[in-house]
């Protein structure tokens, strides 16, 4: 070690013990000192006749970002949106399913009429078409309701207020306040959320935001959660309250995701990515009158159709692959059943089964197709039935031994497992590091395994 010959630096030794330990608090107080004086000067210098920021807006902001009401209002709005989605999606979903599966019958009849080989009709109709039909009928209605509502909130200018509310929590977790915005973006699509982390300047905080983005439930996972919550959580209570309970279950999963984001961020900033959080100025844009036509077009074209198209493009080949796996035999058992058999012990420990785990593995290209693969897996494993409604899905799942604990574990595992292929590729592009990409996949996966293990084993002990 070199000797110290810099007086400026050696004086540090003398000063360091004088420094208060809580730097974040010091920074806050310095910043608030500056802000107070800027405010008092501005008050004496600026006269505004009819400011843009009128009394009404200021009052609204005070309520929306207030210490006590800010969070309850956020929760309430989220619950309301999901409740409208779940209640509203039921009927059109059934209608679509009936229509699409009627078409399946016609197609089958057509294939029979032209004497097409059995494997071809199996691959094309039971493989590709059926998974497509499922993706469309299960996913389209909730998306068509959820996205316009979400875009409406965005257009009103509510999202920056959410970021404002969350900022403090993120800073306490050692992360950047802007991470709230990237998290919100993740609710749309994790790949987009990861890209949006570029708005965070500090590399340390950007990595934290990237690694935790997958804990935002993305569009691809919402429909699965909504369907499972409607079937299993809703069935726990009487008809009148079922959609409320289903909504609350989805909200709970989302909140678990946000809590996990904060927890993991805080863990990372205390271990692998140590450091302090930095400041930023968040501008609260004025509230705007939303343009309804614009919202409908933007949310339907940019989001609903975009997500649906992605699902369709990936679901078709994945459906075909699943059908092939389920219909190629080694000895007596199909390849699909063989893999499911291997994975089954682990799946059982986690409150699920082998087929569910395969569905998540094959769903790597896109989370949208996890549910369709699952259904095909069950159908090919035996009981053939017409899936024309959520009720039929319920019967299928019950036949395979599902309970609400199974549904809960699947919902939690859907929240806590590796990000989809697109997101992983994006993480690799953004971090330029295979190691961070690997960590971004392993971290949530490990969490998911541990959490479902605990839930399942715990529930078995309680039920015994």
């Amino acid at each position: 070690m070199s000797a110290i010959n810099n007086p400026e630096l050696s004086v540090l030794r003398e000063i360091e013990p004088l420094l208060p330990a809580n730097t974040a608090n010091i920074k806050d107080r310095i910043v608030s000192g500056i802000y107070q004086q800027a405010e008092s000067i501005s008050a004496q210098v600026v006269r505004s006749e009819n400011s843009q920021y009128t009394g009404l807006e200021a009052r609204l902001d005070n309520i929306l970002t207030s210490r006590w009401l800010g969070f309850p209002i956020m929760l309430l709005l989220l619950t309301l949106i999901l409740w409208i989605t779940i209640t509203g999606a039921n009927y059109p979903s059934q209608l679509l399913a009936t229509g699409l599966f009627w078409l399946e019958e016609q197609l089958t009849a057509l294939f029979l009429a032209v004497n097409a080989p059995v494997w071809l009709s199996g691959l094309l109709i039971q493989g590709m078409y059926r998974s497509l039909a499922w993706v469309v009928s299960v996913m389209l209605p909730p998306m068509a309701i959820f996205f316009p509502l979400f875009t409406l909130l965005e257009d009103l200018g509510y999202l920056p207020r959410v970021a404002f509310n969350m900022d403090k929590l993120f800073r306490r977790a050692g992360a950047h306040g802007k991470q709230c915005l990237t998290m919100c973006m993740g609710f749309g699509c994790n790949a987009a959320g990861v890209t949006s982390c570029r708005i965070i300047d500090s590399p340390r905080e950007r990595l934290i935001a990237i690694l935790t983005n997958t804990f935002s439930i993305c569009n691809g996972r919402f429909p699965t959660l909504i369907a499972l919550a409607t079937i299993f959580m809703g069935a726990l209570v009487s008809q009148a309250y079922s959609s409320i309970l289903a909504t609350l279950a989805v909200v709970a999963i989302i909140m678990t995701g946000i809590a996990t984001t904060l927890l993991v961020s805080s863990l990372l900033s205390r271990t692998l990515l140590r450091g302090m959080s930095s400041f930023f100025v968040l501008e609260l844009p004025p509230f705007r009158r939303p343009q309804l036509g614009q919202i409908l077009i933007r949310s339907l074209l940019d989001r609903t159709l975009f997500v649906l198209w992605r699902a369709v493009v990936i679901a078709a080949p994945a459906g075909a692959l699943t059908w092939i796996l389920a219909n190629s035999f080694i000895g007596e058992t199909s390849v699909f059943a063989l893999i499911a058999g291997w994975l089954n012990p682990l799946g059982q420990l986690m409150g699920m089964d082998g087929i569910i785990l395969i569905a998540f593995l094959l769903g790597l290209p896109a989370n949208e197709i996890v549910l369709p693969i699952l259904i095909m897996g069950y159908i090919s494993a035996g009981s053939m039935l017409e899936l024309d409604s959520l009720n039929a899905l319920r019967i299928l799942l019950l036949d395979h031994g599902w309970t609400w604990i199974t549904a809960l574990c699947v919902m939690l595992f859907s929240l806590l497992h590796f990000p989809c292929g697109t997101t992983l590729y994006t993480i690799f592009k953004e971090t330029r590091s295979a190691r961070w990409t690997l960590l971004s996949a392993l971290l949530p996966l490990l969490l998911g395994i541990v959490v479902t293990l605990i839930i399942n084993q715990g529930s078995q002990i309680i039920m015994r």
């Binding site: 810099n6 630096l9 030794r13 420094l19 208060p20 000192g33 000067i41 006269r47 100025v281």
Partner: protein, 259 residues
């Protein structure tokens, strides 16, 4: 980040050819019309800056007024000088270490309060500051009036109102620059006062630090940074004094001191 090792003002003063050449740093929040002010003042006489290690600085340009020659350096737009992003660090280091003759802070008249945060922070580093309240035309359209004289009195430094898009107020801006350099305008900048507990810590640290600091640096400001545990500022000062001192050694010494 490497620091510009020779203070501009001194090097220019030592050089008889540049007796009359002054460096003005142009600071401000993003989107306040800083570039418009820059373009209006320098016209076509601009080129990409080449300050040592300052790749982020976009441009510098020159202009003359009342027989003085000016070099205007456009700093990146920032909301604060907390050095939490590279832009903020560049702006802070230029104002602190390159010691421009005057730092011209452009503000948005339609949201002055937010802009004042930056002004107050710059005033902690240097007292040679001129505030330019820009976008007056837009403020008037929105029914916002800014009392420029009152602002100057409150801050203790000169202030000028402009609407750079139409060129309004730029002539008097140049006149005030000239008056400041001629010593016709005295500035007594307002000092930020923090809560009593913080003030006590700041004074304690400043007292101990001051003997080690060069005279040109504001020791209170350095004390504030140290209080925030931003020790890089001390590295910078050391680096600045011994300009060929290896950076790695400095880092090791900081680590050693804190052990």
């Amino acid at each position: 980040m490497a620091i510009n090792t020779t203070p501009l003002s001194e090097s220019s003063k030592n050089n008889p050819d540049k007796q009359n050449n002054f460096v003005i740093a142009l600071a401000g929040n993003p989107n306040v019309g800083k570039s418009t002010v820059f373009n209006r003042l320098t016209g076509l006489k601009q080129h990409t800056g080449n300050w040592p290690g300052k790749t982020v600085i976009k441009a510098e340009g020159t202009f003359s007024h009342r027989n003085r020659h000016y070099t205007l350096v456009d700093l990146p737009g920032t909301y604060s000088l907390h050095a939490s992003s590279s832009d903020e660090e560049v702006a802070r280091d230029f104002i602190c270490f390159s010691r421009p003759d005057i730092t011209l802070v452009v503000c948005d008249a339609t949201c002055l309060e937010r802009n004042l945060n930056l002004v107050l922070q710059i005033l902690e580093i240097t007292d040679r500051v001129l505030v330019c309240v820009n976008l007056l035309d837009e403020a008037e359209r929105k029914g916002i009036q800014v009392d420029i004289a009152m602002l100057a009195r409150q801050l203790g430094i000169p202030a000028v109102g402009t609407a750079a898009r139409s060129g309004r107020g730029l002539e008097s801006l140049k006149n005030v620059l000239d008056d400041m350099l001629a010593g016709k305008i005295a500035s007594r900048p307002r000092q930020l006062v923090y809560d009593p507990e913080l003030e006590a810590s700041i004074n304690e640290i400043e007292k101990r630090l001051a003997p080690y600091l060069p005279a040109w640096i504001n020791s209170r400001w350095v004390a504030l940074r140290v209080l925030e545990r931003d020790f890089s500022i001390l590295e910078h000062i050391s680096n600045h004094k011994n300009n060929d001192y290896p950076r790695q050694v400095l880092k090791e010494e900081v680590a050693l001191c804190l052990r």
